[in-house]
Amino acid sequence: MLKNIDPRLYLITGIIIFPAFLFTTDLFIRFLFVIIAVVLNIITGRKFRVLPNILLSLGIIIAHIYPPSGKVYYEIGQFYITQGAIFLGLKKSLLLIGSVYISRFSVRKDLVLPGKAGALFYEIFFYFEKLTELHLKFKKNIIEQIDSKLLEIENSPAIKEGAKTKSPSINSKPCFRQILFFAAIVFLFWGLFGYSHINLWRS
């Protein structure tokens, strides 16, 4: 279902859901957003690594231990581990991690930008694909390997011609199920955002 989707659909969805994530003040809802963003990345073929995210969160939380605020949980020497400090650290780390995964979901490699800038980026990514054909062998001279690849690209009229060819546009219009999928994501984000704010007004 998620194959051959116009990357602009991902981008539009990302742009619509991002404010909901950014402006939510509820820590639990923000945590839910991060979970949803991670799940969306996984089901759309992007990688997710647990350890770097945990380390990042821990680093941010530790950095916020001082100044202490709110209820004291633990006492280590002169340091107080407080609820306010942990919540602030968590809030910031979730904001950081969530923004990365929403962005990764929204911005696809095959995203074609319009106009001259789009043509230039097409050319850059075309050369990038050619460079990725280079399997660097670390036992051999790396400089020579990169240099010969640059010369190969520079001296090949076929490659240069390919870089100038306009990128193929995605002709297939998204099907109903695909639109429904992206609409559900938008509904889920803004629904949760609305829910958290209704609770906030009530309290």
Partner: protein
């Protein structure tokens, strides 16, 4: 005074060097890092190479293309990471151009690289202070700056070696020389 030869203003060279930046950024992403916030900065090597063949304006264009291209490939275009990448790369790009313009042949790529890394890390630490870590960012400053200097030293050595040995660059520079002689 004539401007830089049209060849060096060409889109092709700019696009190829930008592709190199993104390619090296991908290699950097794969290489394991002993400490979470450490960056080797190998994606800056094409920017250092560009100092030899491009005008400052074109080098800055390359810096922008590197930032946006990296953001698209890694998908971090709308995240806080992009903000760090943007500020760090801009700071290092400007610092490298200024130091190279002032010192020209008196400075090696090692010096240019260290200057760029110092500028990049300083700006990123300031942003980290205000956006994420608060006052604790000051504690991160000494290790981040010291490790940045060490990694940029190796990056600079690599850039210097590439500049002295690259046939591709020699071709570019010889065309530039021919142009200078002609006009």
């Amino acid at each position: 005074m004539r401007s830089t030869p049209s060849l060096f203003k060409s889109r092709e060279t700019l696009a190829l060097l930008a592709a190199c930046c993104i390619f090296l950024a991908m290699i950097e992403y794969i290489i394991p890092k002993p400490i979470l916030f450490i960056r080797y900065g190998i994606a800056n090597i094409p920017i250092m190479v560009s100092l030899k063949i491009f005008s400052p304006r074109m080098t800055m264009a390359l810096v922008f293309l590197k930032i946006i291209g990296q953001g698209i490939i890694t998908g971090t275009l709308f995240s806080y990471i992009f903000l760090f990448s943007l500020s760090g790369s801009l700071a290092s790009g400007i610092a490298m151009i200024i130091i190279y313009r002032i010192c020209k042949d008196k400075i090696s790529m090692v010096g240019v690289s260290i200057t760029g890394a110092f500028a990049s890390n300083t700006v990123q630490l300031i942003i980290a202070k205000y956006l994420i870590f608060g006052k604790a960012a000051i504690l991160m400053a000494p290790p981040v700056l010291i490790i940045g200097i060490v990694t940029s030293l190796f990056t600079g050595i690599f850039a210097e070696l590439f500049i002295s040995k690259s046939q591709w660059l020699k071709t570019k520079l010889s065309i530039q020389g021919q142009y200078a002689e002609k006009y």
